[in-house]
Symmetry: C2
Subunit: 212 residues, 2 copies
């Protein structure tokens, strides 16, 4: 079987993650992505995992404990729109993942929203390193889901191709509306110095900040 | 880098091909897909490769000769809409690939068209085995390209989900309109016999024909 959106999101993450990367799980949910990410970046990396529902944190904590993955994971009881409060300035982030919709087996009124999703996404893009990837798995069958998908689709289509490569991965003949996967990849920054007179410490520091 | 449409078409083919499969290259072009398929199905499989341009056949023949892949490849100087004339009745086909558009570095007036593409696709679907895959790489920047893409998109969306799984793989922020990849996968047919009275030779023969 062709990999579904969830499976392919993990494939795309696994291709780039190493044992020292810092990554973000923007929607902890039942902890599937958090555990996956923690496994991939251990022992030297770090996972920032967000959720606004106590039951998501409890469930995820328990799974991390069982798998011995608590050390490299920072469990955060806050909305992902506040991501910027938890990252250091210029902290390089290799990857992020969003499961957009509502927490399965939970309150369907409590959903991710276009405004907060966009805020989190913009913060993540500012921290994303070259070759880094952001995965967004968009469920859109619930009330409010289509508005979020439309925002996301428009936002992704407008990302400048010089800086980003955006893939949409979608099964198009399924009546039950399976989730659509978006992958935003940051391109490798190539800079040509025109003259050796540009070569000084402050320029190098600037280049390092945008390349990393 | 995330695999582009061409690269990912080969990844999806490689996942299912074995050394005894029969496969179809509906658009030989410069022979890239033909050589790839012939390598994957050798030594017991067979590749049917179609094109209506002499230069495509010459180029592909030369590449197959260089790689020692002529034995398992049938080079056909005909349009893919006539595919049914070359396959045996009920011949199981494991995979097919189309590069829709025009032959690179060639006459841009000579393009694949919605009608003939659809004919070839329908024949292929009739021969496709369970877990078999058809890959369509749709270039649509040229005159006539959008019409073919629209046909293909509509056709794929209407394929019954009980029988097929259809993926669209598309980069959505690129101004130069890179090709869009479609992958049609035939589902595994599961049949439950309600009573042992159904168990006889003719039923089994029938089941074999639709499962294979």
């Amino acid at each position: 079987m062709i990999e579904n959106a969830l499976q392919f999101s993990h494939t795309l993450l696994a291709e780039v993650l190493t044992d020292h990367d810092h990554v973000v799980d923007a929607t902890m949910g039942n902890g599937n992505d958090t555990v996956f990410l923690a496994n991939k970046v251990q022992p030297h990396g770090k996972v920032y995992a967000f959720d606004v529902q106590k039951q998501a944190l409890d469930k995820t904590k328990q799974r991390l404990l069982e798998d011995g993955l608590t050390e490299q994971t920072k469990i955060i009881f806050d909305g992902h729109e506040n991501l910027k409060n938890y990252l250091a300035e210029n902290e390089p982030i290799k990857a992020g993942i969003f499961n957009l919709g509502y927490l399965p087996k939970s309150d369907k009124q409590l959903i991710t929203t276009p405004t907060t999703t966009k805020q989190a996404l913009e913060t993540l893009l500012n921290h994303l390193v070259s070759k880094g990837r952001i995965l967004l798995v968009s469920y859109y069958g619930h009330a409010g889901g289509k508005e979020e998908l439309t925002m996301l689709d428009n936002y992704c289509q407008k990302l400048p191709q010089e800086q980003y490569n955006v893939l949409r991965y979608q099964f198009i003949n399924q009546k039950n509306r399976p989730p659509i996967l978006f992958c935003i990849e940051k391109n490798v920054t190539i800079i040509f110095l025109k003259s050796s007179s540009f070569y000084n410490g402050s320029i190098l520091l600037f280049l390092k900040s945008i390349i990393l």
